[in-house]
């Protein structure tokens, strides 16, 4: 445990020292992974399905605000869908627009979840997000999580039925729209997942705020269990064929991941080095405020194993021999 705590302290020290580079790097990596995943799943437009384009956009994301990643991901998705089929682009575009108009403008902080959740879905560990959002967010984060789930299932539906949509004749615009809207609205698996994740977020939030020992760990465990329960009950009620083993394994892995995140990220104040400028009547001030971070390294105990060569003990031994 001491080693872990020391590791945490060292991480804090490194982060506060190199924050200027670490944050853009993380943004770059998130944007890169997201855009590569979009290209690999939807790559219909060849112009943007190139590593150079992805790298340039990811690089732009690294120094723009976090929400720019969401905008870039939405733009890539829409361009691919536009190339694939106009009706599909229209339906998905309306979905994105409604999310933006009705929710995202309310809580721009949580927006990144909408990108993170589909990425985690593809990695088979989507359960990380509701548990994490319960720990660091508010009950309103349940709506962000729901938006993320909707985005994933909308795109998943399009990818699954790509051949059917492509096979429909160009004149069948109304039929295509109907097929897409019906498919998206009657997706029971999506509804159950939204319900499970919303319950998880709210439950984790309520438990972690209780004034009991290990509230965070209990909240995470309870969230994981409830998530599995709701998914299974939903599966029994609506017969959605949820992969039981996958859900349980995914939840266990997610729980462990959140445990690590909680130790290294959520509970730690990564106070940053700040550069501020201000002035008064006499001076201009350019201040660089560096947080004081003390790394508590493990104490080193020196154990002496050689015999002591002091004069006194030797004399005492002699005297005992003599007596």
């Amino acid at each position: 445990m001491t080693t872990l705590l020391v590791a945490k302290q060292i991480l804090m020290a490194i982060y506060s020292k190199y924050e200027v580079y670490i944050t853009p790097l993380l943004k770059f990596l998130l944007a890169l992974v997201t855009l590569l995943m979009i290209n690999s799943r939807l790559g219909y437009m060849e112009n943007i399905d190139k590593l150079t384009v992805v790298l340039i956009v990811a690089l732009m994301c690294s120094f723009m605000p976090m929400n720019f990643i969401v905008v870039a991901a939405a733009a890539f998705t829409m361009l691919h869908l536009y190339k694939f089929n106009l009706e599909t682009a229209l339906v998905i575009g309306v979905g994105f627009l409604l999310m933006f108009l009705l929710y995202i403008r309310f809580s721009p902080k949580d927006t990144v979840v909408i990108v993170l959740l589909p990425v985690c879905f593809l990695m088979k560990i989507p359960y990380v997000i509701p548990i994490s959002m319960g720990l660091v967010g508010t009950p309103a984060s349940a709506v962000s999580v729901a938006c993320g789930v909707m985005v994933y299932y909308m795109l998943h539906y399009v990818i699954q039925n790509a051949t059917v949509i492509a096979a429909m004749a160009d004149e069948e615009t109304a039929a295509k729209l109907k097929f897409l809207i019906d498919g998206l609205l009657s997706n029971k698996e999506m509804v159950i997942t939204i319900a499970a994740f919303a319950v998880t977020v709210i439950l984790v939030y309520i438990i972690r705020r209780l004034s009991i020992d290990y509230a965070w760990t209990i909240a995470m465990a309870a969230g994981a269990v409830v998530n599995i329960m709701v998914l299974l009950v939903g599966d029994l009620m609506f017969d959605t064929n949820v992969a039981l083993f996958g859900v349980i394994l995914g939840t266990i892995i997610s729980f462990l991941l959140v445990l690590v995140l909680q130790f290294f990220v959520f509970n730690v104040d990564y106070s940053r080095t700040e550069k501020v400028q201000f002035e008064d009547d006499e001076y201009y001030y350019y201040v660089k405020a560096v947080p004081k971070v003390t790394v508590a390294r493990a104490e080193k105990k020196v154990k002496q194993i050689n015999t002591q060569r002091n004069a006194r003990p030797v004399q005492r031994t002699r005297s005992t021999h003599e007596s």
Binding site: V94, L97, L101, I181, D280, V287
Partner: protein, 131 residues
């Protein structure tokens, strides 16, 4: 002369203004009614656009059947229905945004209280420095 205590206070305040206090300072510059009214107005516009989009999709969804039935249906009743649904949607959304923005305004004001106290303290420091 540089006053160390004053610089520390100013640095803390500048840091607050640049980070977590950025939005609060912006909100604090409005009167309560102005801020909430403006935000609710924006919400009503958003909800109206959203309603129009959903309504358009609803029409397109069954366009042929809709075009066939448009001659048979009572258009006034249909328009009344649409208007009622519009008012319901916008009303609920405006109410939610009113509650959210009222909460945000009071939270911002609360957070700014310490900032304003520090501002007074700083003014006091300057006064005593000059006298």
């Amino acid at each position: 002369m540089l006053n160390e205590e004053r610089i520390i206070l100013m640095t803390q305040m500048a840091s607050y203004e640049a980070n977590e206090g950025k939005k609060n300072v912006a909100i604090g510059s409005y009167f309560r009614s102005d801020y909430i009214g403006w935000q609710v107005l924006k919400s009503i516009i958003s909800a109206t656009i959203a309603f129009v989009v959903v309504f358009a999709m609803y029409i397109f969804y069954d366009f042929e059947i809709f075009m066939m039935e448009i001659y048979k249906m009572d258009l006034l009743e249909f328009a009344k229905n649409v208007l009622f649904n519009y008012l319901k949607t916008v009303g609920v959304y405006a109410l939610i945004s009113y509650l959210v923005y009222s909460f945000r305004y009071s939270r911002a004001k609360k957070s700014l209280r310490l900032y304003y106290m520090n501002l007074h303290k700083l003014a006091g420091m300057y006064k005593s420095g000059r006298s």
